[in-house]
Symmetry: C2
Subunit: 206 residues, 2 copies
Amino acid sequence: MSENKIPDIVIGRLPLYLRSLQRMQQENRIITSSQELGERLGISAAQIRKDLSLFGEFGKQGTGYNIPYLIEKIQQILHVDRVWDVVVVGAGDIGSGLARYQGFSNRGFRVAMIFDRDPLKIGAKIGNFIIQDSHNLSETIRKAGIKIAMIAVPSSEAQTVANQLIKGGVRAILNYAPISISVPPHIQIQYIDPSIHLQRMTYYLE
Amino acid sequence: MSENKIPDIVIGRLPLYLRSLQRMQQENRIITSSQELGERLGISAAQIRKDLSLFGEFGKQGTGYNIPYLIEKIQQILHVDRVWDVVVVGAGDIGSGLARYQGFSNRGFRVAMIFDRDPLKIGAKIGNFIIQDSHNLSETIRKAGIKIAMIAVPSSEAQTVANQLIKGGVRAILNYAPISISVPPHIQIQYIDPSIHLQRMTYYLE
DNA sequence: ATTAATATGTTAAAATCTAAACATAAGAAG
DNA sequence: CTTCTTATGTTTAGATTTTAACATATTAAT
């Protein structure tokens, strides 16, 4: 219950809880239980209760959890009880897709700008965004106060872009380039690489 | 070293090792060490040695690991010493992006077909692929012997598509729809949802 | 040839994480 | 009002995972 130090592995599960709860809310559900949530997610009910208990007492014994209330609490914990502006770097297929992606609404994020360094792309529009010159990346995002970025450039450019982002004040990076990037310890970094996921599954095939 | 039972968490790290090793190979490196690999990945050297030792003795004491040899060994372990045909379901931004994605080559995968159910899209081309009618999904992939699929349809369709895929013989699913899917225990499933990754990072911001 | 340095593979210890058990509170039923 | 059922939050035990330590093998240097 106290503000000790929460294991990162627990933090990693909270967004999953949140997503399932929001889905239930869309189904007009009011109450759920650790058991139901666990079945939806393939996680034990005990695990879910234990995780949540690290942050407070959000349920009611004999009844379960009030869905809207628990959503609110998890959003507060994860700091997504607000909308974060996010920058996209790279206007290829992945970057363009991210700029157009409708899935960030209600999740706490909004794409605010997109950059590329290709003169043929700069100035063009993707959805409502005009592709900006990544030469001005650091300055522009600093002025805009942007703290979160998604990298969708070729692997060879990813480290350079990350450095520019950090220089511009970014604190969290989601990297779609299939390469490990080196960042200072106070910078959050996460990776999305479909091949990594696929390879993890092929081990179990055949 | 023996064929006991390898923890899944170890399997999850092998693709990361492989990716870094392949990167080193592109840099024309021949030898590396658990320490160097660990530094690139932010994993302890002991961890890497321990993981690899579960499968065999791939290094040489006093010297390190031969990069091409270790790549070959990990590829064999993960069953990516071959090319797997993969099907994409959903020809929206994400699905189209996956069909055009150049990043699967040398990673063990190749997009083989793409499906959608929208009559306006069926028959159209994405890269070299003609979008096929997902009405025939199960039959077509069964005939083609496809075992791996990526789902890129709206959340509301994801479970239905997954069921069709499993009916068609698919054994591993990478789901881009931001929703938990229920599958039998012998089916592998992994998720890609950028909001999940972003929310995991915002916890540490502010 | 001997010594020193290096880096693996393995063993043992420490730390972390998960699962199970249970006491308690809330609500429903009789 | 009492009893029964349900489901939480917490405690305890068990399992897993990570880290550290070390013996051994290889290479390089003197």
